[in-house]
């Protein structure tokens, strides 16, 4: 039987019957496997086992899973609950390590599914609206889809051509989810391998989500000069109706903007948002740089805070990272809530089929607290008109104000100093102490809690005196909130091929000391300002700092002594010393994409179906380290794990120890710090960096030198190594104090030693470590355990070596 192809054809004898075949399941995969489509690595369209032996187990041999369970028990199936403490096995035979590997894996596939579903929603919506043939115009690049290309071998050029990659990610997610079932996979290490695979798919899902919106919705296209956007609660004009959007998916918001533009309302209604929807609404139609008018209120931790401020006149939610108590909280202040995405419907009635005016009346009257509207035309009109109508009503009802001073005093005086709120607060803020000072009229301790408070309301729920603690903190912080005004560069999308070409050599040699990627959510263990301090430290040291999502926002919330934010002080290009806001969470795919493109474009490696070789190149040659300082969500775990499979380490905040699984190497085990030289297959010793692929730090001061150290790579040339050592050792001295214990392990010769302190450090090498120094020639004679060879080709993949 011949195979079916796409196209139209008629069947003989059956007049007037024409059959059209648009897509054939599996056809793209078949085509990709055909041999005549150019260079192709060994793993296009991988399955659960494809990367396991060739790459994942090699990574996991050095970067060992570190399990920190959240619970002694397992209650997955009806055999349980089982007590797994002390690594016991449950009734089904799985042990504590295996079960926690499963728990971590479950987080990763959940995050992967979130982004894949987001991508699917946008892809279908945009194809339906604009057609399949919209070209992937993403800026001046040939490599448009590095994650898709590495994974599937394909290089789609239009919206329609993305479909096979989308289908593939969905199919593999089903396979992955199946392994969680009781009685299936039980080996911890195999859950890790599967999690890594899922991480790679996550970056495919994110890549799809972002490139389709960039192409179809005219977002900035690899634009280093994308406009500056106003940011912070303090930028919202209280006199205007305020339409507040929360979530991650921009599809519906564009209709609000279109409605506002068609009806000349852009200066009459405030449209602003929280989380990634906010970032992406500032990107809409910005490719041609029209003056931006929408605002970014801030990160997820501000959701309840903005509601408690009373300012929003309507709230529209879409998907992901949206609190579960938006409706009851908004209801207290007469704020109607519209759910605009089928993933979150909050039990609200659906008003898709009702007349627009009737729905506005119904919501205005308060007869229903909110409704579902999935029809975007209606959503655009209703949300904007409703905000205008609600504004005077809510103003008159006095619900747009925070509490009065008298009310505040009454609340504070009620506190019985019972300590229940301290026990409940996930950030462990000392609320009782702040209350004690507030009773004496000193509100500064309460004000100090505002920045670290994630607005979660756990404290309020345990307070027997029913004090609205979050409102108390917010009231005490009115002055600093009014000054919460920052700037953020609109998300610029991918890093262009040209930018990779000009920075590739510097990155591989180490003369640009590294890429620092500041991403993720606001569940900070110390303070939001930590990400600002870290970013500033690395920018001043000429690292390339890239950001996405809530991390990008919080970097822009603080100002220096001249009143300037980081985005105003540093250029937006992918250059040494540049601060690059890539975009929203889904834009994280462009961060792995940039590292992949260094391997593909600069390193000349085949990208198609070639994950292991690309990852191996990045691990050994591209100094990069992620920081997800407030990672809270499942998506953050999948984003990080996707970075990990590509050889990019990530430091997370202390809360992220609750993900249950880190990947940390034994820096004392020399057998782990060897690679092959691809020129002859001989083993070569490398220094112990990066020491981890996924770990946590306690404070931003600790994280800073950790990240600098994690940018050291075997491929650094002498100048690069000395630059990287300079930064790491200076940062260690500044924040930890003194010389790091193991700095000497990174020295291959005198030229590696930081220039400014070379003589003094050589003295230490001689006296403390017994190295032989020729002081006349200022040369190291013997001592280093690793050698420098400028043309060595470090690799963890034996199969890439030419045999000697």
């Amino acid at each position: 039987m011949s195979k079916l192809t796409t196209g139209s054809f008629s069947i003989e004898d059956l007049k007037d019957v024409q059959i059209t075949i648009n897509t054939i399941v599996g056809a793209a995969k078949e085509a990709a496997k055909a041999e005549d489509i150019g260079p192709m690595g060994p793993s296009p369209f991988p399955g659960l086992a494809t990367y396991r032996d060739d790459w994942n187990l090699k990574l996991l041999d050095r970067y060992e899973p570190v399990i920190t369970p959240m619970c002694d028990q397992c209650c997955y199936c009806t055999y349980g609950p089982c007590d797994l403490s002390n690594n016991k096995r449950g009734a089904c035979g799985i042990d504590m390590a295996g079960h926690n590997g499963r728990e971590f894996f479950l987080r990763v596939i959940t995050g992967t599914a979130c982004h894949a579903a987001h991508g699917r929603h946008l892809l279908d919506h945009l194809i339906e609206t604009f057609g399949e043939d919209i070209p992937l115009d993403l800026g001046q690049s040939d490599v448009l889809t590095p994650n898709i290309t590495i994974t599937t071998g394909q290089s789609p050029k239009t919206l329609g051509e993305i479909k096979p990659a989308m289908e593939f990610a969905e199919e593999q997610l089903t396979q992955l989810l199946a392994t969680v079932h009781a009685g299936q996979e039980s080996a911890e290490i195999d859950y890790d391998s599967k999690a890594l695979f899922s991480g790679s798919l996550d970056h495919v899902g994110m890549e799809i989500s972002d490139i389709v919106q960039i192409a179809a919705l005219d977002f900035p296209k690899a634009d280093p000069e994308a406009p500056l956007i106003e940011m912070g609660i303090g930028t919202i004009d209280k006199e205007k109706p305020f339409l507040c959007v929360i979530g991650h998916n921009v599809a519906g918001v564009t209709y609000m903007m279109d409605y506002m533009e068609e009806n000349e309302l852009t200066d009459k209604v405030e449209l602003g948002g929280l989380c990634c929807t906010a970032i992406d609404l500032t990107r809409y139609k910005e490719a041609d740089r029209r003056p931006p008018y929408t605002k970014v209120v801030g990160s997820m931790s501000k959701e309840l805070k903005i509601i408690r401020s009373g300012m929003p006149d309507v709230i529209v939610v879409d998907e992901q990272c949206v609190r579960g108590d938006i409706v009851p909280e908004a209801q207290k202040l007469n704020i109607p809530v519209i759910a605009s995405n089928a993933k979150i419907m909050y039990g609200l009635p659906n008003r898709d089929n009702q007349d627009v005016d009737a729905t506005i009346e119904e919501l205005k009257s308060g007869a229903i607290p909110g409704c579902v509207i999935l029809n975007y035309e209606k959503l655009g009109e209703i949300s904007v008109r409703l905000a205008q109508e609600m504004h005077p009503i809510r103003e008159a009802a006095g619900v747009r104000e925070v509490a009065s001073d008298e009310q505040m005093k009454e609340w504070v005086d009620k506190c019985a100093d019972c300590g229940a709120c301290y026990l409940a607060c996930p950030i462990e803020l000392d609320i009782p102490e702040a209350m004690k000072f507030a009773k004496e009229g000193n509100y500064s301790y309460l004000e100090d809690l505002h920045d670290a408070c994630i607005g979660c309301r756990r404290c309020e729920q345990v307070c027997k005196k029913e004090i609205p603690i979050l409102s108390v903190i917010e009231k005490a912080s009115q002055k600093i909130i009014a000054e919460e005004k920052g700037w953020m560069r609109a998300g610029r999308g991918q890093v262009s091929d040209a930018e990779i070409r000009s920075e590739g050599l510097n990155l591989v040699m180490g003369t640009t000391p590294g890429i620092i990627a500041i991403i993720g959510c606001p569940n900070y263990s110390d303070c939001a300002k930590g990400v600002y301090y870290i970013a500033e430290e690395f920018l001043k040291r000429n690292y390339i700092v890239v950001g996405t999502g809530c991390g990008s926002m919080d970097m822009g919330m603080y100002k220096d002594e001249n009143g300037e934010t980081l985005y105003e002080r540093f250029p937006g290009g992918f250059v040494s010393g540049g601060l690059v806001n890539i975009g929203s969470c889904v834009s994280n795919a462009h961060i792995t994409g940039a590292a992949q493109k260094v391997a593909g474009i600069f390193g000349g490696r085949t990208m198609e179906g070639n994950l292991a070789e690309i990852s191996d190149y990045i691990l050994n040659r591209v100094g990069a380290c992620g920081l997800a300082w407030g990672a809270f969500s499942q998506k953050a775990s999948s984003i990080g794990t996707g970075c990990n499979i590509y050889g990019i380490p990530a430091v997370l905040g202390a809360h992220s120890s609750k993900y249950r699984r880190a990947l940390i190497a034994k820096d004392y085990d020399e057998s782990k710090w060897k690679v092959y030289d691809a020129r002859n297959g001989e083993e070569m010793a490398i220094p112990p960096a990066p020491e981890f692929l996924l770990t946590t730090a306690e404070t931003w001061q600790e994280a800073t030198p950790m990240m600098a150290k994690a940018c050291i790579r075997p491929s650094d040339n002498n100048l690069g190594r000395s630059i990287k050592l300079t930064h790491w050792m200076e940062l260690h001295d500044k924040y930890i104090g003194g010389l790091p214990d193991d700095w000497w392990k990174f020295v291959r010769g005198e030229a590696d030693i930081p220039l400014a302190k070379r003589a003094a450090l050589m003295k230490i090498l001689e006296e403390k470590h017994g190295w032989e120094i020729d002081w006349k020639r200022k040369k190291i004679i013997s001592g280093p355990t690793i050698k420098f060879d400028v043309s060595a080709q470090p690799t963890n993949l034996k199969r890439l070596c030419k045999e000697a």
């Binding site: 060992e64 570190v66 399990i67 920190t68 369970p69 959240m70 619970c71 002694d72 028990q73 007590d83 797994l84 403490s85 002390n86 690594n87 504590m96 390590a97 300590g419 026990l423 409940a424 996930p426 462990e428 102490e433 263990s525 202390a654 809360h655 120890s657 609750k658 880190a662 940390i664 034994k666 004392y668 085990d669 020491e691 981890f692 770990t695 946590t696 730090a697 306690e698 404070t699 001061q701 600790e702 950790m706 924040y735 930890i736 104090g737 003194g738 790091p740 214990d741």
Partner: protein, 170 residues
Amino acid sequence: MVDTTKNTKLFTSYGVTTSKAINPDMAAKMISKAKRPLLVVGSGVLKPELLDRAVKIAQKANLPIAATGHSHVGFLDKDVDAKYINVHQLGFYLTDPNWPGLDGKGNYDMVIVLEFKKYYINQVLSGTRNFSNLKAISIGRDYIQNATMSFGNISREDHYVALDELIDNL
């Protein structure tokens, strides 16, 4: 005398086992009995009242210090043996019998932990509790469920008194 065993309230539990609440004299006794103890401090120790007490504990019981987070800066001018290590990394190494320790002399049989956010140290100790025989004594102001023994929840003031009693008993 402060009773540090009274309040062992938890917001949520890790499950079936929980640490034994102890008083300062008992903590001192346990520390004195350990063969290779290690004092592990978090960045919270940089508060002057705590830093002084941590130094006294280390000196009196002759304990090496794993200075985690950025706490190491506090010990630079103190006469103690303090080394920086990341606490998540430390938690992992403590489960490896082959770890040479901070001084090259081998792994430890007990850690004494002080001044961490409780969610963080609980998480680190859930690793050592399930995957090693390490004993962990928490002498912070919060009840730490995943330690072997711990002070209960106490006020800041009582905590200082408890630490002083511990020092007296060493």
